[in-house]
């Protein structure tokens, strides 16, 4: 995607653009020798990487955005080491960028500005304790999402958020992005599954946020920390809620001759008072791409397929599954298939969860969008999305969390085509506009990062943004943590030039 990256960068957020224009010092190893030496003294030499290959690697994440400038990359193993890193960074007047697996799609983990210290938490990857009496597990931030669920399985539990990247992404990243996933329809996104956090503040203090009790004392700082995209500090321990595995699961695959019928079925199911564990829609193009290599028996002649799953007790899930089938048929479903066993269920889900990889057979590059619209507007917005694609002479596929109105239009292209990048960005902006016009929001699970900063004022007034900025200020008055993200230009910490030495008494 190399050819895309450059243009993507130039079309990035306002803060990002300003970064590109910055004359700022270029990272020079000689200049930071003392910083590196200090970090290596606090950790170990091999866990502070300063070679150009490592820094180049950490200058990107899974997003299309380029232009990151990573400083030394630290791999702490303990909270104390994170504290030490934070204090050394402060002493050297350097920002820090927390990083999990780097699977974020909004550029949240890209280090901006003067070679920030990257704090990669991937070596903090232990499940510390399963505390069934308190209904939680204490885990370190580098634990991989799917590893956690597999670890909990013998105990009869799982961690509910299940992003498509769950084989790779970390719990710390899930906390930073308030991650979702197909099964968040019934169970809620990450914030509903985090009871307590240990975080290291930008000043190097260790803070316990939230608690194992239902109403921890004071303000819900845990609640605002989750989803703050690494701008309020570094997560070092997480108490995740244990969700009991349900004995009964039914997975249905419904086929439709129009996307509208599929969308109407989704609205109909919710209106009927059924809350499935998941409701996912794939359009014809993506279904065909997936079927080509998964061979799950997805119908390649349908305009859309709806993958619906209900869970609970054995008898009750049959009632729910029957109801979904009836609502589907009433909305012109051409076929309804019930997964016969776990193997068939796993195969159907494999198709859904690997959909983004499947498009490589069609075109080399893709740009995955993420907006949310009211469920009742799904069909109309999807039609508009297809029209946007036509207008911009692009191929768009749709695979999305239909149950909660979370669209994931996937723009597929070949970055070698002259002029295609401008059209890709134009289409992206139009999709965002269409979603907001329908009463939706900018992001359902990818976050803002550098991708959508410039769109924040489309959804929020200056007063709204000012108050979001106050949260940032309360945690991080000097913009040390992940500067240049989330907040649009004009707010503190958005413009990375504002990173300065600590004003006197600021930590009060």
């Amino acid at each position: 995607m190399a050819s895309f990256l450059k243009s993507a960068a130039s079309a990035g957020s306002a803060a990002y653009d300003s970064f590109r224009r910055l004359p700022g010092r270029k990272f020079e190893p000689a200049e930071t020798d003392q910083l590196v030496l200090d970090l290596q003294a606090a950790l170990t030499e091999d866990r502070v990487r300063n070679d150009s290959a490592q820094r180049a690697l950490m200058s990107h994440d899974a997003s299309v955005f380029d232009g990151g400038n990573a400083g030394p990359v630290c791999y702490p193993e303990t909270t104390d080491e994170v504290v030490a890193i934070m204090k050394i960074a402060e002493r050297h007047d350097r920002a820090v960028v927390p990083r999990g697996a780097g699977t974020g799609l909004a550029g949240g983990a890209i280090p901006l500005g003067d070679a920030p210290v990257v704090i990669a938490v991937t070596k903090m990857n232990r499940v510390l304790e399963i505390d069934e009496d308190n209904g939680i597990a204490w885990v370190e931030p580098g634990v991989i999402n799917l590893d956690l669920t597999n670890h909990l399985k013998p105990h009869g539990y799982h961690f509910a958020p299940d992003p498509s990247s769950q084989q790779v992404c970390t719990i710390g990243g899930n906390v930073a992005n308030n991650s979702g996933g197909p099964h968040c329809l019934a169970y809620g996104v990450t914030n509903a599954h985090i009871m307590a956090l240990e975080v290291v503040s930008p000043a190097g203090d260790v803070l316990q946020l939230g608690g194992l009790d239902p109403e921890p004392l004071g303000l819900d700082l845990r609640g605002v920390f989750v989803g703050s995209e690494g701008t309020l500090g570094v997560t070092t321990k997480v108490a995740v809620k244990l969700t009991r595995n349900r004995p009964g699961v039914r997975t249905l695959l419904l086929s439709f001759s129009s996307v509208r019928d599929a969308a109407n079925t989704v609205s109909g199911v919710i209106a009927a008072g059924v809350v499935p564990a998941a409701m996912e829609v794939m359009d014809a193009r993506i279904t065909e791409a997936v079927e080509n290599y998964v061979h799950a028996g997805y119908p390649t002649d349908a305009a859309a397929v709806l993958l619906a799953e209900v869970d609970g007790l054995e008898s009750g899930v049959d009632i729910d599954a029957d109801q979904i089938r009836a609502i589907g048929l009433a909305n012109n479903a051409t076929d309804v298939r019930l997964a016969a066993d776990d193997t068939e269920r796993a195969l159907l889900w494999k198709g859904r969860k690997t959909a983004f990889g499947a498009i490589a057979q069609i075109a080399p590059d893709y740009y995955l969008h993420d907006t949310v619209v009211p469920r009742s507007a799904l069909a109309d917005v999807l039609e508009e999305v297809y029209a946007i694609a036509d207008r911009n002479d692009l191929l768009i596929m749709n695979v999305f969390h239909a149950g909660d109105g979370n669209l994931h239009p996937l723009i597929i292209f070949d970055g070698r085509d002259p002029g295609v990048l401008d059209r890709v960005h134009q289409a992206g902006a139009e999709i965002i506009t269409a979603s907001l016009d329908a009463g939706g929001v900018l992001s359902g699970e990818h976050g803002i990062g550098v991708e959508k900063q410039k769109f924040m004022s489309r959804m929020f007034t200056d007063d709204d943004l000012d108050h979001q900025n106050r949260v940032r200020q309360a945690f991080d008055p000097v913009c040390r943590a992940n500067p240049g993200k989330v907040m649009p230009m004009g707010h503190s910490c958005a413009d990375i030039q504002q990173l300065r030495a600590v004003p006197r008494d600021v930590w009060g």
């Binding site: 505390d131 009496d133 308190n134 992005n177 308030n178 979702g180 809620g188 996104v189 914030n191 203090d205 803070l207 194992l212 009790d213 239902p214 109403e215 004392l217 303000l219 819900d220 700082l221 609640g223 605002v224 989803g227 349900r246 004995p247 919710i270 209106a271 008072g273 809350v275 609970g312 007790l313 009750g316 949310v372 009211p374 469920r375 009742s376 109105g405 979370n406 506009t433 939706g440 929001v441 359902g444 699970e445 803002i448 959508k452 924040m456 004022s457 489309r458 959804m459 929020f460 007034t461 007063d463 709204d464 108050h467 979001q468 949260v471 309360a474 945690f475 989330v486 907040m487 009060g508």
Partner: protein, 320 residues
């Protein structure tokens, strides 16, 4: 820049509303003197003594918009929860707000969960979008109108349980969820409540008073029957009508601590097994924050209410 002019973009009209009712409330809140918003006064002592000089005002009331198939409702903060839930029940829905009297805004500001929190969800997860009047008298919007949203910092979470010390709640969008087909309470005086809680897959409530265990099962009739059978293995449960609501001081304990409830000086109590909320005759001993977390709290208060005019005298978490 005024709170409603925003980008001037029609696409954001729902968020940048110039609703005269909210404007009127913003004027009522004003910009300078001490002010407190009264809801139903069911938890009026929460947070300690209100500064006697503070003006006491009411938030606007009424259901603004209800779309059952979106599972959201837009409601003004002064609306009684009972009124809201009556309207929702007609469409087979409810919310995570507690049914104990009081208003929507009061319930959110206090953050107390319903007895049936395991079934209906927490208050903190119920709030999707919040419009409040800031200490500067501005209308501020946080969150968004969809069930899923990670756009920017989560102001709604910050507002829940903040006792109106960061802003005066004016209008909110709350998530709704379906009322189960069957709701049935069961009572036993010989059960181990912790065994009962473990025995059934998804109880909506397990309440223990030291002798009696009350369990609420909800869902399809077949599911409730099956779980009632599992429950019977842990005690001589009989079907009973809905119990009266527990009263008293509200404690917040880690759920595991309930196994040692006898070691706490609660007096008569009702404990929510699996949750950790305890309603007790005696108040919970004062809890404290670490100095580092307290410092973040203090900075947050300074950011949102630099002159300390919002619900003056009160502190979240005190005197519950």
């Amino acid at each position: 820049m005024s709170g409603d002019s925003g980008s001037g973009d029609s696409s954001s009209a729902t968020l940048h509303s110039t609703d005269p009712v909210l404007r009127e409330f913003a004027e009522l809140v004003g910009e300078t003197d001490g002010v407190a918003v009264a809801g139903g006064r069911t938890r009026w002592s929460a947070g300690g003594e209100l500064d006697s000089a503070a003006r006491v005002i009411q938030a606007p009331s009424g259901i603004v918009d209800y779309v059952p198939e979106e599972m959201i409702v837009t409601v003004r903060a002064g609306t009684p929860v009972a009124e809201l839930h009556a309207e929702l029940a007609a469409k087979g829905q409810r919310t995570g707000l507690p049914e104990r009297g009081g208003t929507v805004g009061g319930a959110l500001a206090v953050g107390e969960n319903d007895v049936t929190v395991l079934g209906r969800g927490t208050v903190r997860s119920a709030l999707l979008q919040v419009r409040y009047v800031s200490s500067e008298g501005r209308i501020v919007n946080g969150g968004g109108p969809t069930v899923k949203n990670v756009t920017g910092f989560d102001l709604p979470r910050l507002m829940v349980g903040s006792l109106g010390t960061l802003g005066c709640l004016a209008e909110v969008i709350v998530r709704t969820n379906p009322i189960p087909t069957v709701s049935q309470w069961y009572l036993a005086s010989d059960a181990d409540p912790f065994a009962s809680y473990q025995a059934v897959m998804a109880p909506s409530a397990v309440v223990y008073d030291g002798t009696n265990t009350l369990v609420l099962l909800e869902g399809h009739a077949v599911d409730v029957d099956q779980q009632a059978g599992e429950l019977a293995a842990t005690g001589s449960f009989v079907e009973v009508g809905p119990p009266s609501l527990p009263t008293g001081h509200r404690w917040s304990l880690p759920p595991a601590e309930l196994k040692k409830i006898a070691t706490h000086d609660t007096g008569a109590f009702n404990a929510l097994v699996g949750v950790g909320t305890v309603w007790a005759a005696k108040p919970q001993p004062a809890r404290t924050l670490s100095p580092e977390v307290q410092a973040v709290h203090d900075r947050m208060k300074m950011q949102f209410d630099p002159t300390g005019r919002l619900n003056p005298g009160r502190k979240p978490g005190v005197n519950r």
